[in-house]
């Protein structure tokens, strides 16, 4: 029976493991091509840190300046954001709140959703819970994947979200990004690089869909822009899960307590068990 139980335990854990893998599979990031051309549709990983207050503050700043015009954060309150991100109230009031809203209010916007639908083809959704819906990696990849596409009404398209209705609002910051073709080394069937059998030269082939920014066309260089988008993603992840830091610290103490409790109850149980036999 022990063996059976053990086998079942192994079976169960491998099952849940495979479930986890299958949940992660698929092509979440549309047509996005990784910078080395090896994977398509996989999101770029967003290395964000909810404890990095400076990053969150920068992200909030970008959001309030560039995104709030269209996207509300209607489940969150100004006051709470200012407290959590340690943005001084008066500075927050001066710089980040637009219109006649008060600090305790939810972060709503005045845009009319029917009109917006006419302008963009789609209503800009509320982004409070976007990081829960799509994941931080998706948001980060999406924000860095706008490119020039003259066939679209707004002149831009997005690798992650094909035919997106959102304009490239950060184009001044990023510069002109294009979808280009490149010669890249071919991969042989054994996984190595393909070589010409006679000359030994590496064989290359053309692959399209790489993203490239025109030199010096934006206010930020590519590294700075990537960092700015990480900050913005970090802010949106905070929006979805503002309690993460507090929650994990409470969780740690609770676990410590439970470990002690479990140890003690085990020792007690062992004492009692002695006089059974």
């Amino acid at each position: 029976m022990k063996k059976f139980t053990l086998a079942l335990a192994i079976f169960l854990s491998s099952f849940f493991f495979s479930l986890g893998l299958s949940a992660a599979a698929g092509a979440p990031c549309g047509n996005y091509l990784s910078s080395d051309g090896s994977t398509k549709g996989e999101c770029e990983e967003a290395y964000i840190n909810p404890k990095d207050k400076a990053s969150l503050q920068r992200g909030a700043q970008i959001y309030m300046n560039y995104c709030l015009g269209c996207h509300s954060l209607k489940y969150a309150r100004y006051k709470r954001v200012s407290e959590d991100l340690e943005i001084p109230l008066d500075m927050f009031q001066a710089n980040l709140i637009f219109g006649d809203q008060k600090m305790g209010d939810l972060i709503q916007i005045g845009m009319d959703s029917k009109e917006a639908k006419q302008w963009f083809g789609n209503t800009p959704p509320d982004l409070t819970l976007e990081a829960g819906l799509r994941g931080a990696d998706w948001i980060y990849t999406y924000l860095t994947s706008f490119y020039i596409d003259d066939s679209r009404p707004l002149g831009v398209n997005n690798k992650v979200y094909e035919n997106v209705g959102m304009p490239h609002v950060l184009i001044d910051m990023q510069g002109i990004q294009r979808s280009v073709c490149k010669q890249i080394p071919l991969i042989a069937s054994n996984g190595g690089l393909k070589q010409d059998p006679l000359s030994g030269e590496l064989l290359t082939g053309e692959k399209c869909g790489f993203l490239e920014v025109d030199n010096n066309s934006g206010e930020l260089n590519p590294e700075e822009f990537a960092q700015a988008m990480l900050d913005l993603t970090n802010f949106l992840a905070y929006m979805t899960d503002p309690m993460k830091v507090e929650r994990e610290s409470i969780g740690t103490y609770t676990l410590l307590y439970l470990f002690v409790f479990t140890m003690l109850s085990y020792l007690l149980y062992r004492e009692f068990k002695k006089d059974l036999h």
Binding site: M1, K2, T5, L8, F11, F15, S18, L19, G20, S22, A23, K74, Y75, A76, R77, R80, P125, T128, L129, E130, G132, L133, R134, G135, T240, P242, M243, R247, E248, I250, G251, T252, T254, L255, L258, F259, F261, T262, S265, Y266, L268, Y269, F272, K273, L276
Partner: protein, 412 residues
């Protein structure tokens, strides 16, 4: 002093007798193993769900306009509201994980056999109630998946021949899933179903204490008793089992708390990502998947792709799905084996039990992914093998060769 108070009560209420019968002196077999913990842990989770549920109720708003926002209000503005909510969502998944283990234990050790048939039926009833609780609860946050899962499941009622459509409208209270539907599911989730669950669990435990616990050997421990009439192969529930259970509850809570505080979404299984978007009746999500604990039955529903005898495929799928849940109740009468525990049953019983487990998990997987022709075929095959365990049981359990059962329990 204490004795005097107890005496005062005992003259008016069977207090001491009840405590002794159900707690301190309840004789528990000495060879109970880890599978016997699920029952206690189910009680723990029941308490967790009731407590967290009451707190959620203090701030939840059961209207189509306000439900989604009120959940976010709980998550953000209510003091420690997020702990309460994650406790409840994690609790729901834990409830099902434990109830499946608990039922499987019964299937392994033949705990449903005479004299525990009624105990088993009552247990099965808690499972049906739990399924209903899970479904109604899932609709309450009024996210995209809440809405569309309700749409899919309730539409099954509409597939019933002749009066289905009218029945559906009556149940929904509207021509579409709406705030009215939400309101009635809410009433079921917070009043009717929990009350029924508590009542049935109570009777379940009364029944258990009447017939006594089974054990991994499936032998009757009441056959051999000492001079005081206490079965030899048992130990009193207090202190031995209480101490043991306390330790087990500690281990369980460590797992529980880890998920609750560190992985509250459970990788999309405890809280589904699509449910981060508010319900929108104009926008159908790409994949509608139920919570993980219903996926085996959802796979059965989708496995039926052909109409038969003039009945629609959808209705037949609904029947098969319901049968998949209902069939457990018949086990006491399907099993004709002279022995209880799988340890002493023959090779066929072992084979079919293993087949059942494999079918259950494969169906669970198939119910969680999009269907393709190949997957549908697999779902059909494993639906058949799932039911084979039950429907062939009267034959294989009767005619197979069993091992001899010892008189007393073995301690391995």
């Amino acid at each position: 002093m204490v004795t005097r108070i107890m005496n005062w009560f005992d003259d008016r209420l069977p207090l001491t007798a009840t405590i002794e019968r159900h707690l301190t002196k309840y004789p528990a077999p000495i060879n109970m193993n880890i599978w016997y913990l699920a029952g206690v842990l189910l009680v723990v989770v029941l308490v967790i769900q009731l407590a967290s549920g009451i707190w959620l109720l203090m701030n939840y708003e059961a209207t189509a306009e306000g439900a989604f926002a009120s959940i976010q209000y709980i998550m953000r503005d209510v003091e420690y509201g997020y702990i309460i909510r994650y406790m409840h969502t994690t609790g729901a998944s834990a409830f099902f994980a434990l109830i499946y283990l608990h039922m499987f234990r019964g299937m392994m050790y033949g705990s449903y056999q005479k004299p525990r048939e009624l105990l088993w039926v009552l247990g099965w009833l808690t499972y049906v109630l739990l399924c209903a609780l899970g479904f109604t609860g899932y609709v309450l946050p009024w996210g995209q998946m809440s809405f569309w899962a309700a749409q899919v499941i309730l539409s099954l009622v509409g597939s019933i021949p002749v009066f289905g459509e009218e029945l559906l409208t009556w149940i929904r209270g509207d021509y579409l899933i709406s705030g009215i539907t939400l309101n009635r599911l809410f009433a079921f989730h917070v009043v009717l179903l929990p009350l029924a669950l508590i009542a049935v669990v109570f009777v379940h435990i009364l029944a258990l204490h009447e017939v006594g616990s089974n054990n991994p050997d499936g032998v009757d421990v009441k056959k051999f008793k000492d001079e005081d009439g206490v079965p030899l192969d048992t130990k009193p529930f207090f202190p031995y089992d209480v101490m043991h259970d306390l330790y087990a509850i500690g281990v369980f809570l460590i797992f529980f708390v880890t998920i609750m505080f560190f992985y509250p979404d459970g990788g999309g299984y405890v809280i589904e990502y699509v449910n981060y978007e508010a319900a929108d009746n104009l926008k159908t999500p790409e994949h509608i998947v139920p919570s993980w604990y219903y996926t085996p039955f959802y796979a059965m529903l989708r496995a039926v792709t052909f109409p038969l005898f003039g009945l629609s495929a959808k209705f037949l799928g609904f029947v098969v799905m319901a049968a998949g849940i209902a069939i457990f109740v018949a086990l006491p009468w399907l099993d004709r084996s002279p022995v209880k525990s799988i340890k002493y049953k023959g090779i066929y019983s072992k084979f079919f039990l293993a087949l059942f487990v494999v079918s259950f998990f494969v169906l669970g997987y198939l119910g969680s992914v999009t269907s393709t022709p190949g997957r549908t075929l697999a779902a059909q095959i494993f639906t058949v093998t799932y039911f084979a365990y039950f429907f062939l049981m009267p034959f294989y359990s009767k005619y197979e060769k069993c091992k001899p059962v010892p008189d007393r329990v073995s301690l391995s």
